[in-house]
């Protein structure tokens, strides 16, 4: 077995694929403890500028790695699960016993999880090595990770730019090659948009495919957990580990599909939907539009049939989202009241004053904005004007997708109207909300969507992702298309600065 010192000399495990790591373990080229140590050892320097990690979990990682090495020694490696030996890290809204789960908020700065989220538990049961917790927009409110109370994450492709958000840390950690796999959560685009900005694969599965138990809720009817990876295969392997019914989340569903099964099938005969209205949307930059058209052409060349579909109500998705999301967030965040845990402003004589001061200081601007918005939208006399129509819009959009999927197997659209923007570039909240214009309707309808990297934009030279949208519970359709695009564009590279070890320079 290799020593820890030598392990650090090996190629960074965070830049390897799942299969490469597992091959190395199987051939005893290195041990799981080597993987854990080397991965952890690289983070302080490699993440210094990126700031994807909020916490690393040395002891948990080494304990998990030691168990894997025992299994390998006893010839039980194949029993360990699909992620055996793979370093993995989690968005900081996911509970993992003994770690801080801060949601990047001052409110939960010192909150230590007493239990583990199902999605996290499943990656660990599948043999994953937990490396740490990842930065995000506070309580997942944002599209840039700038609202984190602990400082922003930087885009590994250009440290002057945002990684997207809210799962910015999850996307950046994979793009920087710190870990091969991370988990994020997506309420309106929070996996797909940062995946696009950072040039990695990001999957938001159909609502109900992955358990939400233990993931701090933002919009309960919209939230869904999914993986980030650089290859479609690694993402699919992770999906296999985390998907399926969980008794602790009664909105989760039975899932028996093997997400890796059809990756090699290519797209011949598949019908791919193109939404003309999306392609003409105001704000869509020419380089992103060109990339979507290029991807469509490549798919067509491989034998897919391109079919125009209409999503006439999708334009109302943004409005519905900014009603439903804040309403649910208002209620979900009510528990952060300073009484039993979380930030408590001292010295108040009565409960009301303590609540007010603690929440005013503990929550950042965007969290307070959404709480107040939700509180207003749910109040008597206002509810009927907004909440009820928003639910109707939801039904209409769901029907739009159902109709579209009568004609197509998968829909191809932009993820974000543009590539990663600079810090502070978008200061107006409503402009920021437009980052999610192409992703939100999928959360509203509940079906699956993913961001697939298709190279760099012609104008900015920054990563561009295209969005693949599958019918509900047919998430493997989009993975199949993604795999075909991967053949065209190659597996997503580690961001050049990180790959050459110059992230800090």
């Amino acid at each position: 077995m290799t020593s820890a010192a030598n392990a650090a000399q090996l190629a960074p495990f965070g830049q390897m694929s799942v299969k490469q790591i597992q091959h190395g373990l199987r051939t005893k080229e290195f041990s799981a403890v080597d993987v854990a140590r080397a991965t952890l050892a690289r983070i302080p320097e490699a993440d210094e500028q990126v700031h994807a990690f909020l916490e690393t979990t040395e002891q948990l990682a080494l304990d998990a790695a030691a168990r894997i090495d025992d299994a390998v020694a006893e010839g039980r490696m194949n029993e360990m699960g699909p992620l055996v030996g793979v370093p993995i890290a989690f968005k900081d809204n996911m509970n993992l016993t003994g770690t801080r789960t801060t949601c990047s908020s001052k409110m939960l700065e010192n909150y230590v999880s007493p239990y583990t989220a199902t999605c996290v538990e499943r990656t660990l049961r599948a043999g994953g090595i937990p490396i740490g917790k990842l930065n995000m927009d506070e309580f997942a409110f944002g599209s840039s990770t700038e609202t984190s109370a602990f400082g922003p994450t930087r885009n590994p492709w250009d440290l002057g730019r945002v990684p997207g958000g809210s799962s910015g840390g999850s996307a950046a950690a994979v793009a920087a090659g710190l870990v091969p796999i991370t988990l994020g959560s997506d309420t309106g685009g929070s996996i797909r948009q940062p995946a696009s900005f950072c040039g990695v694969v990001g999957i938001k599965p159909t609502y109900g495919v992955v358990s939400r138990y233990g993931v701090v809720a933002f919009g309960s009817s919209l939230d869904q957990v999914g993986p980030f990876a650089r290859s479609v295969e690694d993402a699919a392997i992770t999906m296999n580990a985390i998907a399926g019914r969980d008794e602790l989340d009664c909105t989760s569903q039975e899932v028996t599909v093997d997400f890796t099964a059809n990756l090699a099938e290519d797209v011949a005969g598949m019908r791919i939907g193109i939404v003309p209205a999306f392609m003409e949307a105001e704000g869509l930059t020419p380089e992103v539009k060109a990339k979507v058209e290029e991807a469509a052409a490549k798919l067509e060349a491989r034998g897919a049939q391109l079919v125009e579909v209409e999503l006439p109500n999708a334009k109302a998705a943004m409005s519905a989202y900014y009603v439903l999301g804040p309403c649910e967030a208002f209620s979900n965040l009510a528990r952060f009241d300073s009484v039993r845990y979380g930030y408590c402003d001292p010295g108040h004589k009565d409960l009301g004053a303590q609540y007010e001061a603690s929440r005013a200081i503990g929550f950042g601007d965007e969290a307070r904005r959404r709480i107040m918005l939700g509180s207003y939208l749910l109040s008597a006399g206002v509810y009927d004007t907004y909440y009820y129509p928003a639910q109707q819009v939801r039904t209409l959009i769901t029907q739009d997708y159902l109709r579209a999927y009568e004609k197509v197997d998968c829909i191809l659209t932009p993820v974000s109207p543009r590539t990663a923007f600079e810090f502070g570039e978008i200061a107006d909240p409503t402009s920021m909300y437009l980052s999610d214009m192409f992703t939100i309707s999928i959360n509203i309808a509940g079906n699956g969507g993913m961001s697939m990297p298709v190279g760099l934009g012609a104008d900015t030279g920054l990563p561009v992702g295209v969005q693949l949208i599958a019918p509900a519970f047919h998430d493997s359709n989009m993975l199949r298309v993604a795999a075909a695009l991967e053949v065209e564009y190659g597996v997503a590279p580690v961001a050049p600065a990180s790959a050459s070890g110059k992230a800090g320079e």
């Binding site: 239990y115 701090v216 309960s220 208002f330």
Partner: protein
């Protein structure tokens, strides 16, 4: 302050009840697997879900849904196939999530009713009941021979979760006023709770009490709760307002809390009605407020003034899918319905020739009804069941019930009285071995000393004198001692019969056969 009777001369009270019952017979909480146990060490039955920890999600307890449907079917509600949970948002530390999961406009059970038999002293609270003849209807009541039947509408029964329990330290009697700090026990948080809301169909405190009693009997019969008012597993709030007799609008109501016994429910409402009448008659205004019944001071005090309606920002609970109850599910619950108190009373009346009144009171306590059935089963073998049913019912309804009431909390099956002993006792009366009055004495001794009736009769030398000659001598002596009363009796004051019987019994130390005494007195006074 005026008495209730005086108030009712001018005012009509409009009362509605909100009754919370914890489903204590379930094993686990409403939305998590934590054990339900009253009296456990604080915060020992908790988990991320009932503590409302970040990331936790609710999973509904299927058995609780069955229980509420049972409650609905037993109270003549329509079971709604389609309903859902809602979040009721308010900040208070007893509710860790700062919202309560409850139901919205459509509850699992809607539009039910209970018919209350109001008789005896309870019927007297009703204003001018005697204006109605038996069989006559007025509003929601129908006059009967012994009183009236009140038809009380039930608006809904919905499912929700209980809050934790707050204990305020440093103030008086655990109150928040003056407290230095408060403790919360989350063992109770997430306990499945059903809330029944009546229509404002009740008019007297007695009707409210009877409604609660009947509801409690039903809940106990279907086994969904231990229904302990002291421990708070059955709780009742009363909404009460007054209006002038003949008026149809509704006055401003107050909400009354802390009525944790049937007596407190009655007395609290009675006080509040009289208080409101006094305020109104003095030209004052009733404020919509929550008031606390203080049983020791015998008055209600203001807890909270509701200036505006609370805005709970109710919206559908996104973590729980809407319910679509199948016909099969509802049928399966219906199949689990046991015999309900009303049905049991009807069966008792038919099978054992009891009056409706007796039958109804026999089924008030499940243990008493079971005891009665035990007696009847034993008697069936001897073939004297029909003859003994009435005397057994009388002793159970009057003497035994009084004994149980005096020894609060005791159940009939925990007393020394057994069906065998009861049968021995009433058979002794049937055989004229002892008098009814003596039977009551023997019963008291059975209960107090745990002895067989035969032994007690023997020990105390009890016997009943039925010998006509011996009794005639006593009757003659009594009549001779009271010539003036004999005169009055013959002059038409026949009520004096009781006096004469009493004097004879006294002379015979209670051992005279009252039937024979009555006969002889009758003969001699009329003759």
């Amino acid at each position: 302050m005026k008495t209730l009777e005086e108030v009712f001369e001018t005012w009509e009270a409009v009362i509605g009840l909100e009754v919370h019952a914890e489903l204590t017979t379930l094993q686990t909480k409403m939305f998590c697997g934590c054990k339900l146990e009253f009296g456990a060490a604080p915060n020992t039955h908790t988990c991320p879900v009932c503590l409302g920890l970040p990331g936790a999600l609710p999973v509904p307890n299927r058995a609780a849904i069955e229980s509420i449907c049972l409650a609905g079917l037993a109270t003549n509600c329509e079971i709604q196939k389609h309903s859902m949970f809602y979040r009721k948002n308010y900040m208070y530390p007893d509710m860790a999530k700062n919202f309560q999961t409850t139901q919205g406009p459509v509850a699992f059970c809607m539009h039910g009713h209970l018919d209350l038999d109001v008789d005896g002293a309870a019927a007297k609270e009703r204003y001018r009941l005697d204006d109605l003849k038996p069989g006559e209807q007025e509003g929601n009541i129908t006059r009967t021979d012994e009183g009236y039947v009140a038809h009380v509408g039930i608006e809904r029964i919905h499912m929700e979760e209980d809050a934790g329990k707050m204990v305020h330290i440093g103030g008086g009697e655990g109150r928040i006023a003056g407290a230095t700090h408060s403790l919360v026990d989350y063992n109770r948080a997430g306990t499945p709770l059903i809330e029944l809301v009546t229509l404002p169909d009740l008019r007297t405190p007695e009707e409210a009490r009877l409604f609660m009693q009947k509801l409690r009997q039903i809940y106990l019969a279907i086994g969904i709760s231990d229904c302990s008012m002291e421990e708070g597993s059955l709780r009742c709030d009363g909404n009460v307002s007054l209006r002038k007799r003949g008026a149809t609008g509704l006055g401003t109501k107050t909400e009354l809390k802390n009525m944790n016994s049937f007596k407190n429910l009655h007395d609290g409402l009675a006080y509040e009605i009289c208080r409101q009448a006094e305020v109104l008659e003095e030209g004052g205004v009733i404020y919509q407020e929550t008031r606390h019944w203080d049983p020791s001071a015998k008055r209600t005090i203001v807890m909270r003034v509701k200036e505006t309606a609370d805005d709970y920002r109710l919206f559908p609970e996104p973590d729980l899918a809407p319910y679509d109850l199948s016909d099969e599910f509802i049928a399966s619950v219906r199949a689990k319905l046991p015999e309900l108190p009303d049905q049991k009373a009807q069966r008792f009346a038919q099978s054992y020739g009891l009056s409706a009144y007796d039958a109804r009171h026999l089924v008030e306590h499940r243990a008493t009804a079971a005891f009665f059935e035990g007696c009847m089963d034993d008697a069936a073998q001897a073939g004297d069941g029909e003859k003994l049913a009435k005397p057994i019912a009388n002793l159970l309804i009057n003497d035994v019930t009084a004994y149980l009431n005096e020894n609060e909390g005791i159940q009939l099956d925990a007393t020394p009285l057994t069906p065998e002993r009861m049968l021995a006792l009433v058979r002794a009366v049937a055989e004229d071995a002892i008098s009814n009055k003596q039977a009551k004495e023997v019963l008291a001794v059975v209960l107090a000393e745990d002895k067989d009736p035969e032994v007690i009769i023997e020990e105390r030398g009890m016997k009943q004198v039925s010998d006509t000659g011996a009794i005639e001598a006593v009757v003659d002596a009594v009549l001779a001692e009271n010539p003036d009363k004999v005169e009055q009796y013959r002059g038409g004051k026949t009520g004096l019969m009781g006096f004469f019987v009493g004097q004879c019994m006294k002379a015979m130390q209670g051992q005279g056969n009252p039937k024979v005494i009555n006969e002889l007195l009758g003969q001699k006074l009329e003759g």
